[in-house]
Amino acid sequence: MSTPHGGDPDTEPTQDSTTTAASGAGEVKSRVGLRYTLSQVKRDTTALIGIYIVGFITLVALFAAIDYYIFDYAIAEAIMYDPERDPDEVNRLLPPVGMENQFGSGVLEHPLGTDHRGRDIFTRLVYGTRVAMTVGFMATAIGLVGGTLVGAVSGFYGGWIDDVLQRFTETIYAIPFLVLVIAFMTAFGRNLTFAMIGVGITAIPVFNRLIRSRVVSIREEDYIEAARAAGVKDRHIILRHIIPNSFAPVLVQATLQVGVSILIVAGLSFLGFGAQPPTPSWGQMLSQSRGYMLPAPTFSIWPGLAILFTVIGFNILGDGLQDALDPRINN
């Protein structure tokens, strides 16, 4: 049966489907979904750099996490140093290899130098990645899941449900987030878990508003009406139809939010509210290096660079994703 090519210029002619499938094996089929997103990102150099940075940091963090949780720093001790325990022979505040300061000259065993208790800075940087990434991803995940659900329900039902949920999130939004997180941690406990939860909660309004604005327009689409007419449950409509169709901007925001969360938790650690010693974390390293800025500036520079590198990586990736997913920019 022959079918005239419809009015939609994007529509692939039906009859050609077999030939296109054969000739273009790598041809992207859907304009949505993970595979499509990746294929778009690959075309964008900036996004690609972001992917590499994030991928690299993630690998380092994975290594650190495996060593910490499974081997209890056995690998670290074998090839480097224990990042937590003070060494027996004290080489405090050594500079990086090839440099000199009042405490001595850099040695190859400590390529980036040592901290105020003689621990190897490089090892602590590597193991600090675990904390940074865990915090970044967990806080974002809490904000993402919470914000998406609240926003989707709010936008889908409208009316008083919408009013209540939106006023509630605006209340969270109105409190300065650092004050909120510190108050939260003071109430529940000063450790990393509550830092993550606290930062996650402050991220809920961001995602909530983003997804709600999308849902309000998608709610009116015919396929939602069609699903209702087919006897589909509201819950199912929200999870299967509304959320997947509103997800592109959320993905971008989530990527940026990971960087933001890392930064916030580093700030919290600096204030003494994040990871507690001796757990290696970048913010805490910065905090400890405060007293040694003049005699050993490299002590504070390294964790600062690590934070910078990671956050920039996520921001580049987020920007790249935004461009890749924006239908107005690419075709």
């Binding site: 489907s17 089929k29 979904g33 396929y223 069609a226 007419a229 087919a230 589909v232 299967r240």
Partner: protein
């Protein structure tokens, strides 16, 4: 014939807006018998789509069904009874929202929407959506549902259904998508399918194919249809019986042959005269004069009198209820006082001066309001 499959009695659906109450559907009654195709015809804004969503109880706030009874296979889809305080309340037999969702929507009554471009979710594959729908409404395990989905796609004339199963809606043309939606509608073997202007968004050749397909499937599964359209030629093609709607009311109700060859109501006649024909020039075309009035404040008397070429003074005063004017054994109801059965003195009444009767000239204002009305479909 046997007992009706669906009975709609005195259905009233109103929208409570800030400007006032819009009586989108104002007391319509009709039956659908098993296996027949019933047309619901009228201009944009006549209340056709609201009537169909009322049947499935899918009217959104600020709209509400305020009166009437809808019975489907001895189930009360909607019904009111007097509460203890005299206020009407939903009757006890009326299905709950839960029962509507689980038992009626999709399973017993399916609906095909106007715009096939928008009725499929763009982020999932066509086959996946069809499979999910079958799983949901027929309680089949995933593998069987998939096989069933592929069979359905083949049945509605999608070539190479195994491969097209994994494609996304944007890879289908409009006609193909409408076929998918038809597959979705018949997949659960409902007794009634509501087709809400399913061919309006398609070009004429595809429209022909779709009508052919529907006729074929209708014969095979013996499904009843409510076919909503504004296109008289589609009605002639496919329908068994026709209800003509104007401003929320059914003004003529007849077998399709009687409607075309023995037209009773001036509005139906005007609709038929509005169809462009190849043997007529644009000057010869005789469209209905004026625009349909707002349903918020319908004209007094007969609602069509403001545009009726045969309007007389009495039409402003008397609101006609449809009566049987049949010349043969098939019922043929129409609501126009010009017939003697109404006996309200139409013949003695002086003709009314309106646009349609040629009293006033149709000026610029009318053209503007027509342009406005064009954007307001649905």
């Amino acid at each position: 014939m046997t007992t009706p499959l669906l009975t709609v009695d005195n259905l009233k659906t109103q929208f409570f807006t800030e400007d006032g109450t819009v009586r989108a559907v104002d007391g319509i009654s009709f039956d659908v018998y098993p296996g027949e195709i019933v047309g619901l015809v009228g201009e944009s804004g006549a209340g056709k789509s609201v009537a169909t969503s009322s049947i499935l109880r899918l009217v959104d706030s600020p709209g509400e069904i305020v009166d009437g009874t809808i019975t489907f296979k001895e189930k009360t889809l909607f019904g009111l009874e007097a509460g203890p305080d005299g206020e009407p309340r939903p009757s006890e037999e009326m299905l709950t929202e839960e029962e509507m969702r689980k038992e009626v929507r999709g399973r017993e009554i399916a609906i095909i929407f106007q715009d096939p471009m928008e009725s499929l979710n763009p982020v999932f594959t066509v086959g996946g959506q069809l499979r999910e729908f079958i799983e949901l409404n027929r309680d089949l395990p995933t593998e069987e549902a998939k096989q069933e989905a592929i069979d359905m796609l083949r049945e509605v004339g999608i070539p190479d259904p195994e491969n097209r199963y994994d494609e996304y809606p944007h890879q289908f043309s409009g006609g193909m998508r409408q076929r998918v939606l038809i597959a979705m509608a018949i997949a659960c073997r409902p007794d009634l399918i509501i087709a809400d202007e399913p061919t309006t968004a398609l070009d004429v050749t595809v429209e022909g194919q779709i009508l052919e397909l529907v006729a074929e499937l209708q014969e095979k599964y013996d499904t009843a249809f409510i076919w909503v359209t504004h296109d008289m030629s589609v009605v002639a093609e496919i329908c068994d019986r026709v209800n003509v709607m104007y401003l929320g009311e059914i003004i003529e109700q007849a077998h399709v042959d009687d409607l075309f060859y023995n037209t009773k109501h001036p509005y139906t006649q005007a609709l038929l005269n509005s169809i462009p024909r190849p043997d007529e020039t644009i000057e010869e075309l005789d469209p209905i004069k004026g625009v349909m009035p707002e349903a918020i404040n319908p004209p007094s008397g007969c609602r069509f009198h403001s545009r009726c070429p045969e309007a007389r003074e009495v039409c402003q005063r008397v609101h006609p209820e449809p009566r049987d004017l049949s010349a043969n054994d098939r019922p043929h109801n129409a609501a126009c006082v010009k017939y003697d059965v109404f006996d309200v003195g139409y013949d003695a009444s002086p003709p009314l001066e309106t646009d349609a009767t040629g009293g006033f000239s149709a000026g610029l204002t009318q053209t503007e309001s027509e342009a406005e009305a064009d954007g307001g479909d649905r």
